[in-house]
């Protein structure tokens, strides 16, 4: 699987900001569910559903279980887009 580039990471930040209903500038590239206060359980649900909507496919359980950061979102978008 290719590593996410800057554009993928920006797309991930944007997706997380949209799902958490927070301004883009509050979502750092290295942010995670432990460091972004708005990333709560409902926000987490919205993030995963947004990724599925974006990629048009259901996420694999390995990806779901590992999803905890903006970089994880970026990786899921990259792998989903290339399937």
């Amino acid at each position: 699987m290719s590593a996410p580039d800057d554009r993928d990471i920006e797309a991930a930040r944007s997706l997380v900001a949209r799902a958490l209903e927070r301004p883009l500038e509050t979502i750092p590239c290295d942010g995670s569910l432990e460091t972004i206060p708005a990333w709560d359980s409902l926000g987490h649900v919205r993030i995963l559903l947004e990724i599925e909507a974006e990629t048009g496919r259901m996420l694999d359980s390995d990806v779901i279980a590992a999803m905890r950061s903006v970089m994880d979102v970026a990786r899921a978008l990259v792998s989903g887009a290339r399937v």
């Binding site: 569910l33 432990e34 709560d40 359980s41 409902l42 987490h44 649900v45 995963l48 559903l49 359980s61 390995d62 779901i64 279980a65 590992a66 905890r68």
Partner: protein, 199 residues
């Protein structure tokens, strides 16, 4: 390794917003029979409770009041309302527990109940009861529950492929999340030292 030598005994626990009281099955069943008609709330516990009578509900709850099991009712302090239950199944030989939770009052969904309540329960398990590890099972489409395990430091340890049947009949993986006592203590220590640094 610390390991409980006696049968475990449930005690009342308290958090900022909730009180956790060991249930008495008869009165608990009476108060909560209406919960059993909510399929979605019970989906993750894989209990198919629709149409249950008081008798059937009581018989089910009674299992969780037996030796080596603890069932806490979750009471919201603010409204003195019963909103859910938390279950612990203890395995004496291994010193391990399996855990499960139900938040039946949907107005509390998404408000951090599980993280707060389970934090107190894990602290009790690891500190007072000397439990070695905790395991939780969750279907892969229950994103909120997976989030709660992640926040508390659980690690995903296994996936039983296509093991769970969802309410719509679709199949999904069943995931096992585990947390060791040493990991819990390390996480708690890290949080405490962060708090000290802030102060």
């Amino acid at each position: 390794m610390t390991r409980p030598s006696k049968p475990i005994r449930a005690i009342e626990l308290s958090t900022d917003r909730f009180v956790l009281r060991p249930i008495e099955p008869v009165s608990f069943a009476r108060r909560t029979l209406h919960w059993t008609s909510d399929r979605q709330a019970f989906a993750d516990l894989t209990w198919r409770t629709e149409g249950w009578t008081m008798w059937r509900w009581w018989r089910h709850l009674r299992k969780f009041a037996r030796k080596n099991r603890i069932c806490h009712g979750i009471w919201a302090k603010e409204k003195a309302a019963l909103i859910g239950l938390h279950i612990i199944g203890y395995e004496p030989k291994s010193g391990n527990v399996n855990i499960g939770v139900l938040i039946a009052d949907r107005s509390w969904w998404g408000k951090g109940v599980v993280a707060e309540v389970r934090g107190a329960i894990l602290e009790d398990c690891f500190e007072r009861l000397g439990v070695h590890r905790a395991t939780g099972w969750v279907n892969a489409r229950n994103f909120a529950s997976i989030y709660n395990y992640q926040r508390l430091g659980f690690k995903r340890e296994a996936a039983l492929r296509d093991n769970s049947v969802l309410l719509d009949g679709a199949r999904t993986d069943l995931l096992a999340f585990g947390l060791l006592r040493s990991e819990w203590l390390a996480k708690r220590g890290a949080v405490e030292s962060q708090d000290e640094n802030k102060a």
